[in-house]
Point group: C2
Chain length 321, copies 2
């Protein structure tokens, strides 16, 4: 910076002001300074600036999984929104274990980011609170309960599950199985939504906790359920719905004729499977945008907690017309 200053024949302070767009700098001098800076390839030292300013103008997004298309789609939505707010986004990947997750969150916070958004239900409340003591945190997705000090935005899982059940019931299905291998909050909420909706229709709820074999394939415990006459499945998310479709394919079960399938998330997978998957859509673009807005408000000093719930909607495709 001293170099730029001397070459432009001004003071170091003026260079600082000019480069940051301070209005109190004459247009001509600013022009010259910017010119010189470019010439000698000067770039402000972000770390030094952050050390002094006590903020980085950067936010982190931490996601549990790079494999689940829904997660990466949400991350992309957050990025888009952040970009519009002149915030640079750093991604980190938590790898599905709580220890990893904590390490990653701290690694991000160590960079003194202005805030982080967590896209995962693998982060326990205590971990989130610890993080929130270091920087504003907003969570996209559902946590066990409202966590003090952090904002959240998620979709109404109970309503989403009801959309799925209503759709299947309206199509004449009465033996509707719920497939759900997740003990975490979003999974539980969808399960409860399913149970409530089934009750509302006077139908008997039946839940199957699937698990994956060593090769990552769905264990064939669906066979028993199908033998019991189930002709429709509402799965906890698109990944599990795709597992069900795969199982059906491998066992010559016709979808949707013998078995209708509904997923959750409306991720890329829903468009990729054949037959295409009917799925509950979470408004991820809106949710990402709101997450960024909430983060900005927090950075700006808001201290009450906001918990936003967005309405899902059903996207009907071939797997459950």
């Amino acid at each position: 910076m001293v170099d730029v200053a001397s070459r432009a024949g001004v003071s170091k302070s003026l260079v600082s002001l000019a480069l940051r767009g301070d209005p109190g700098v004459g247009a001509a001098t600013r022009e010259r300074i910017v010119q010189v800076a470019e010439e000698i390839g000067y770039r402000p030292h972000v770390l030094a600036r952050a050390l002094r300013e006590r903020r980085t103008r950067r936010v982190g997004v931490i996601l549990a999984s790079l494999d689940n298309p829904y997660h990466t789609e949400v991350a992309a939505a957050v990025e888009d929104a952040a970009e519009k707010a002149q915030l640079s986004v750093l991604l980190a990947h938590g790898k599905r274990t709580s220890g990893q997750m904590e390490e990653r969150i701290n690694a991000l916070l160590d960079l003194n980011l202005d805030g982080i958004v967590v896209v995962s239900s693998w982060a326990p409340p205590e971990m989130l609170q610890a993080a929130a003591r270091r920087a504003p945190v907003v969570m996209i997705g559902r946590s066990t309960e409202a966590v003090d000090g952090i904002d959240s935005v998620n979709n109404d899982d109970e309503a989403g599950a009801a959309l799925a059940v209503d759709h299947l019931a309206a199509a004449g299905h009465s033996k509707i199985l719920h497939v759900n291998s997740s003990p975490r909050p979003a999974g539980l909420a969808r399960r409860q939504g399913y149970e409530a909706a089934m009750r509302a229709h006077g139908l008997e709820a039946h839940i199957r906790v699937t698990s994956r074999g060593p090769d990552g394939a769905l264990e064939p415990d669906l066979a028993a359920a199908l033998a019991e006459g189930y002709d429709a499945v509402f799965a906890r998310n698109d990944v599990e719905a795709a597992d069900v479709l795969d199982y059906a394919w491998d066992h010559d079960i016709a979808v949707p004729d013998e078995l209708a399938v509904v997923g959750y998330d409306d991720s890329m997978l829903a468009r990729r499977t054949r037959p295409r998957l009917t799925s509950v859509h979470q408004p991820r673009a809106d949710m990402g945008a709101r997450a960024v807005e909430l983060l900005l408000e927090r950075i700006d000093g808001r201290s009450e907690d906001y918990h936003e719930v967005h309405a899902p909607r059903l996207v009907v495709r071939e797997s459950a017309p």
Copy 2:
């Protein structure tokens, strides 16, 4: 730090030494210092340390796409390898345009990372060279040509294409279409590999540049090719192979009986499609590990360029048995 020092009844310098594991600190005092640091929740200020030490012990991974499972799988492989080397990894997402890409690369470099690995063929050579002037760069994937000053690790695309063609030819196919919508280096290399292999088998090469409609679906220009009697397709990557499978499904073309399909990358998609996709596997775990090793060597001062080429192998599944 001053706080820790006074509480532990030692000097600030000693705290610094103790926390960084300097051998010249007595075991008992170190113990006490670490203890106190933990008690009051002290964490070293990474930015200040980096400012002083001129390195961050962090590397960046920049990837063009979060949607292409192969890319995220490579990123995960790099992360795993980096973790073993005690390096913390930051991800950034380039969003498929060259401008975005450059912005992201610079955003990462502005953090004074010790190095970056680029997982993308969207970064033009000049951009990579500019980046390499700021920090060590290694590229995973193929660039137009060997770029001065950066290391690269990729698979042998020509050999991979030949594996696919050989397999199809051995299964009795002679009308093998190549589907390839990518004008970028890896795409070109696979195309050339296809052409060479077809020539070697005395077969006529035929290439179709697919494009996507507004809804992201593959445009139906496959129809013509199939009418011409093609009974096998080798696609440039799994995404395009999945497009072909989708097309086949939507047009009642039986795979593999009427049309055999081979993809490239052996990503998650290959296991997800039905029928499961035969695909050329890139050894991404090895490639990621090597990328990290090369980066460490660069950080350590190596200045010659390394360009590594790994051997692909074919994974046979149902779409082309």
